[in-house]
Structures are given as C-alpha cells and as structure tokens.
Amino acid sequence: MSTLAVRRRRSALRTLAFLSPWLIGFSVFFAYPLISTLYFSLMRYDGFNTPEFRGLDNWTYVFSDYPMFWPALWNTLWLVLVMVTCRVVFGLGVGLLITKIKTGAGVFRTLFYLPYLAPPVAATLAFVFLLNPGTGPVNSILDGMGLPTPGWFTDADWSKPALTALALWGVGDLMVIFMAALLDVPKEQYEAAELDGTSAWQRFRYVTLPNISPIVLFAVVTGVIQTMQYYTQPLVAGKVASGVIGGSGQHFEPGYPDKSTLTLPQLVYNLGFQRFDYGGACVVALVLFALAMAFTALLMRRRGGLLQAGD
C-alpha cells in the first residue's frame, strides 16, 4: 500500500474520531427517533398495549377530528404575523436607539438586555402577575389613567397580545444582533447621504436598511422557527392564569382561555402525555418537523453565509 493511501485512511479515521460524539448523538437522538416517529404515526399505541397498524387513521384524526389542531395552527400563524413582526421592528428600533445614545450607553444596553435572560417560566409568571386583571399593576395604572382594563391572559382576545408583550420585553437578543449590524454600516455612506441633504428617514431607508437587510431576514426566519417551538410561555401562562395547577390530580387542558394560547408543541404533549395517543402525537410532531425544516431550508438558502467554507 502506498504511503498516500495510508495517510488518507489515517486522516479519515482521525476525522471520524473527532466527529464520533456527534455521530452517535445524531443517530441515537435524531435519526432513530425521527424514523420511529414516522413509524408510530401509522400505529395505534398508548404506551401499554402492543402497537397496532392503523394506516393513516391518526392523520385523518388529527386533521379532521382533533379539536385542538386548527386552533393551534391559527395561533401559530397569528404569532408569526404579529409577534415576529413586532419583535423584529421593536428590536431594530431599540438597536437603533442604543447606537444613538451617547451618555450612559453601557447602562442602557445592559438594562435593555436583561429581560431576555429572565428564565421563561419566571418571566411568564411575572407577566401573569403584572397583567392580572384584578390586582395587577398594569391594570391598576391603566385604570388610574381612565383607560380600559383588558383581561389579558384570562381573555381569549387578549392572551396573544399579552404573550406578544412578554416577547417584546425579552427582545434583547435581537437588539444585540441589530446593534452589531448597524455599527457595521460604512460611515462614509451616511456622510455622503448627509452631504446630499437627505432626511433622517431617507438615510434610514436608502442607506441603513439595504445594509442590514440580511440581518433583518435572519431575524425574521429565526423568529418564525422560534415560533414553531413556542411552548413554555403559552403553556405556563395558560396554566397559571386558569388557576388549574398544583395538585397532581388536576388536569390542565392546554390553551386557556378558550384554546387561544395553543401552539403545535403543546399538542404533542396533550396527545402523547395527557391522552396517551402516541400515534396522534407523532402526526403533530411530523407536521412540526416539516414546518421547522421548511423554514430552516429557507434560512440556509437565502443566507449562504451559514454554510460558508471553513477556509
């Protein structure tokens, strides 16, 4: 055998060795369960009796008879359209603001960023308290100013806006990303535009936006993917606002109030771990998978940067 072949084989083995933790992880925690999910989506299985092949029964059940599927999909669409948009616009606004602040910029930046770090369960509890219709500070203040006092997490029309408020509070991640992008815009372009006598809005529209548009797109697509995964905040908000938590005997049907906080991941939990319908849960899981992967593909295609070569 030539030394070249030996060297090549040694290099392949070395690569395998370095990749091995992930190769195992990928097979055991991704590939195998994904195939298994596909398998169970065709079976009737409750976790105790032997799985029975049922063809597409689970699929027709989820799409036509399971009362939570379409509300969850509708909520997801609402959250994508309203929550993601609000977060990107607000994140860009706060990012712009922080680049303009000259005095105490570090303090402002830290204050704006901190809420992003609040653990989701803690942040959600805090907001359910702040927005509770009876004694919450927000409604106390609104009432004091003679403004209407919505039911927030207890009112099906207001629960998603309340979740949006919570998401805007934690906008720190986007703020930091936009801030870095804004500081990267070449100064000369602003100076040239200023010499041309443009207004601040024109400079934003024709200099800033084109320069940061890849980051805006990144923020939108990752926002959509995060919305697909949106689980803890709506579930905890619904649970806490409904008051049905604590005792192990208590059964909480997610979505309170009136299915308005249902999201797809909650359906997997509801079907699999509350109704013991593993087949149906796997159908929802696959829908979730298809949606998440579609947007991930969009992210990778539009932003070749994610896949840039290593050299």
Binding site: R14, T15, F18, L19, P21, W22, G25, F26, V28, F29, P33, S36, L97, K100, I101, K102, L111, F112, P115, A118, P119, P120, V121, A122, L125, A126, F129, L130, T135, P137, W169, D173, V176, D184, E194, G197, S199, I215, Q229, Y231, V236, V240, G246, Q250, V268, Y269, G272, F273, A281, L286, L288, F289, M293, F295, T296, L299, L307, Q308, G310, D311
Partner: protein, 296 residues
Amino acid sequence: MTQVLERPVELGPVGEAVRIARRRALLEWIAVHALGVAAALFFTLPFVFVVLTSLMSDEQALTRDLVPDTWQWDNYRRVLDTPGFLTWWRNTLLYAGLGTVLTVVSSLPVAYALAKFRFRGRNLSLMLVIAMMMLPPQVVIIPMYLFWAKQLDLSGTLWPLIIPMAFGDAFSIFLLRQFLLTIPNEYLDAARVDGCGELRTMLRVVVPMAKPGIAAVALFQFFYAWNDYFGPQIYASENPGAWTLSYGLESFKGAHHTDWNLTMAATVLVMAPVILVFFFAQKAFVEGVTLTGVKG
C-alpha cells in the same frame, strides 16, 4: 429637521450655521435620551413591580397597592423553607453544571473537525447539525420518552436530559465552529509542523485561542438547562425529588394560589442567579449572541 439641515448652506455667516448645528445636536441628544429612558422604564419596571410585590405582606399582596407598607424580607426565607425548594436548586445545578461540562467537552472536537478538517461530507454534516439545531425537541419526544422511560427505566430522573449532552449539542457545535473559523489556520499549521497531532493541536493551540467562544457556549448551555421547562416536565414531573427550579416554580404558584408575594419572591430567586452570572460574564455572552447572527 430637513429644513434646518439644508438652510445653513445658503446662509452666509458661518457662526450662525455652527450655532444651529449645535442646537440641533442638543435637541437630538434630548430626544434620544428621553426615548432611552422610556425604553429603560419598559424593560425595568416589570422587575421593579415583581420585587416590590415580593416584599409585601400576605394581606397587602391581595390589594392593588404598588409599594409595600412594611418590607417583608421574611418572605424570601419562607420560600427557601418551602419543602423541595432547595432540592430543586440542587437538581438545577446538577443539570446545568454537569450538562454544560459534558456539552463543551463533546462538542468541541466536532466543531474543530467541521471548522478545520477537509473531508468528504463536511457540508452535509454541517447541514445536519443546523437541522438538528432547528428541530423542536417535541418532534422526537415520543420515541425518546419510550426509550428512556420504558427501555432504560430512567423516568423520574434528570438523566435522560443530561446523558445526551455527552454526545454533542447541535447549537454548541455550530456556535463553536463559527468561532473556530476566525482562528487563522497558520497557527494550526505551525503546531503541526512542530509535530503536534490534531488532538494536541486542538488542546494546546485552539482551546486557549477559543476561550471566548467556549465561554459563550458554556453560558448558553448553562442558561438553556436552567431555563428548560419541557425536559423536566416530560421526564421528572412524576417525581418532585427530581424537579428543577423552572419546573418547580410553576407548581409553587399552584400551592400558593393567591400569595403573589411568595410567588414573586420565588420568581426573583429563580431569576437572580442567571442575572448574576450574566454580570460576571457579560462580554462573553454578548459576543456569543452576536456570533449566532452576524458572523454566520
């Protein structure tokens, strides 16, 4: 604003133009900082109200008052004395601490190979890492639960959440790779010329240079475990002895229905460590957030 900007060019005296420009700068300073203060109120008032309520007496917490009449610091001791609360702390530290160490150790070589080795299937591997990163954990939870609970009999513990971290975490691999790309290959080549194998090159040359990236990954992973709600809900809900803070906090509200003061004190106790860690490692963390979006 536009007229103010355009007119000085036509106006004769230079002093006039400078004066107008100065006044305009001052007005802008005031406007920007006023907006900044308003935004700061939006971001901090929730914390302030939570802390204030956590210090109210039981009776006052039921009212619409915003500021405590008497400051009940004792509330925090009552929360810490709640059965289970310290166990949840310990479990959370185990999950977050051990999980973080395992993640860094197992993800680093993978990230190194993806960033610095040339091999067939590298782009495919990277795409699969990204796919895993974007995969909601609920997608594979049914088979994973059956695997851990039925085959390995580990439900009621946190091990189903900790063990997988010894096999690389997609997000950490991705983030580390992005960071390692910024290290020039010349350093690695120099080490190789000196006779270092790849493992030694990684440990001796790359790790010291990649410290900020490793710190960012460790922080993200620590926060992930600290914040995780779904994982403990699936695997640990049946056994309160294995609950984490994030999971236990919600049941705390259940057990103290209307005692918003105690619930808010518990909330502060869950938030505080994360915020403390952040203050000690602010730079690494913000760098990491930027890396996820911009360096891509």
